[in-house]
């Protein structure tokens, strides 16, 4: 077995009681004290997440914009410098290579933030699609640690340790500047449904920055939070996770992510023909989010039943501290997407109640 990769905050996480697990080949904290407590603290005050395992790619060159518009489903040509954009990167057949954030630094320079589990695959894919464009792709994952500071008190905590005009920074915009003395990219983005920022920082400054945030935040109720609460927070917010709601086989149409697929944009893009055809014909299956009204947690990959017919499979599930019940999502045969759905739980039927996310009020 190969050695797990460590983030620049590995020592910090362990010293603060992080319970480390293997996530996509990285040693990551799944929780510090309690997933539920970390979830609640992020909803009520603030949570600080080490997400340095995420990959980063730098795209540069005179045709960087045209290249990204061909590579990605969203409309990069409409972006302004300082803007962040959520997009998908699709295969020709319409399945998803990855979902990612694009940060536009200038017309000729973009930073992409990629899922840790996909970074290697993404870089290979990006290279194969690059050939005709005057642009370069480089893996800069090692240049950054990434911290997510999220929650209703996140911005106040941030303001107490930097001079930047955070109030003037709208959602999905970023600036570059010093936080607690460390040069950062400060992005008003996140994966929790709460107000907050994501901070890209050079690895050697990561621990000082994390400690400064922790020191400033703890009196306000901030806690260190792990991947467990990151997942329950994103699922309550109704955000997709690669490998669950989207994948090589689950398309953006099936995942109801067509808001990030601009079939009408000027540029052609990888996957456009297949997605246009699927939209015309209607998807064979679709992602349905559900509540259970029950604290029992059905497990991922459990078959979903309509009557006694197997019509789908559970792809995500978590306990929602906000609703005090299990919530999740399932990939369902479109013919049954609006019928009564259930799962078998050790011989007992548990009903799944279709519910459009978000499950909680978003406040980003």
């Amino acid at each position: 077995m190969s050695e797990l990769r460590k983030t620049p905050l590995a020592d910090f996480n362990i010293a603060n009681g992080g319970r480390m697990v293997d996530f996509a080949g990285w040693s990551m904290p799944v929780q510090f004290k309690s997933i539920v407590e970390e979830h609640k603290a992020t909803r009520n005050a603030a949570g600080l997440f080490d997400v340095s395992h995420m990959g980063e790619a730098l795209v540069m060159g005179p045709e960087a914009t045209q290249y990204l518009d061909f590579l990605l489903t969203n409309d990069v040509s409409k972006m302004e410098p300082g803007q962040a954009l959520y997009s998908l990167m699709c295969y020709e057949h319409g399945g998803v290579v990855d979902d990612l954030l694009v940060y536009k630094k200038s017309d000729q320079e973009y930073l992409l933030c990629l899922n840790a589990s996909n970074t290697e695959k993404d870089l290979v894919w990006m290279e194969t699609k690059r050939q005709e464009f005057d642009a370069t792709v480089s893996d800069v994952s090692g240049d950054y640690a990434l911290l997510a500071l999220q929650g209703p008190k996140a911005l106040d905590i941030l303001k107490s340790i930097c001079e930047l005009d955070i109030d003037a920074l709208p959602y999905y915009r970023f600036i570059e500047g010093e936080v607690a003395g460390a040069p950062c990219i400060v992005s008003r983005t996140g994966y929790t449904g709460e107000r907050g920022v994501e901070l890209f920082v050079e690895p050697k400054a990561a621990e000082l920055l994390a400690q400064a945030i922790l020191d400033a935040g703890e009196p306000e109720g901030l806690v260190l939070a792990g991947l467990g609460s990151r997942d329950s927070l994103r699922l309550e917010a109704g955000y997709s996770l690669y490998g669950h709601e989207i994948s090589e086989t689950i398309t953006p149409i099936q995942a109801k992510l067509m808001w990030t697929v601009k079939l009408g944009k000027e540029s052609d893009f990888v996957g456009k023909a297949a997605l246009a055809a699927e939209k015309r014909e209607g998807p064979a299956c679709r992602i349905v989010f559900f509540r259970t009204g029950n604290r029992r947690i059905v497990r991922t990959d459990t078959p979903v039943l309509a009557g006694d017919v197997e019509v789908g499979i559970v792809v995500s599930v978590t306990f929602s501290p906000g609703l005090n019940e299990a919530i999740g999502s399932a990939l369902i045969d479109s013919n049954y997407a609006t019928t009564e759905l259930s799962v078998d739980m050790r011989g007992k039927r548990l009903q799944l109640f279709s519910s459009n996310p978000p499950f909680i009020e978003l406040n980003p």
Partner: protein, 127 residues
């Protein structure tokens, strides 16, 4: 590790507390609750159900996993801990006290002597 000396233990991370009249309480250890993480649901058996030693008598579900519960000794169920229906997190906060899972009648009381004492269990649970 928090391990009361007056309890008996199993290698499946259950504890048993002997009461008067050949009755006993059974729960999971502090080590087990800590490994499971936040507990969201505990399924307990019906009163009068009987189980052989080692049989599955219920399930504990946490945000991370579902884990079967194994009866330490031959037993007839007196009652499940009704408080866990509303507050399953009591197993996290008080594994050896308020977090007890089932109250049983010992069908074969001498079996209790062959369970692990705290010292022997400590060896198993220390990874």
């Amino acid at each position: 590790m928090n391990l009361p000396e007056n309890l008996k233990y199993t290698s499946d991370h259950e504890w048993l507390k002997r009461l008067d009249n050949d009755e006993a309480l059974v729960g999971i250890t502090d080590y087990a609750q800590n490994s499971l993480g936040d507990i969201t649901f505990v399924e307990t058996p019906e009163s009068r159900d009987t189980f052989d030693a080692g049989a599955t008598f219920g399930v504990v579900e946490s945000v991370k996993a579902a884990s079967d519960l194994y009866m330490p000794v031959d037993a007839e169920v007196i009652e499940g801990n009704a408080a866990l229906e509303e507050n399953p997190e009591q197993v996290n906060t008080s594994a050896f006290e308020e977090g007890w899972i089932v109250k049983i009648k010992l069908l074969n009381p001498t079996q209790v002597d062959s369970l692990l004492d705290a010292e022997a269990y400590r060896e198993i649970a220390k990874d």
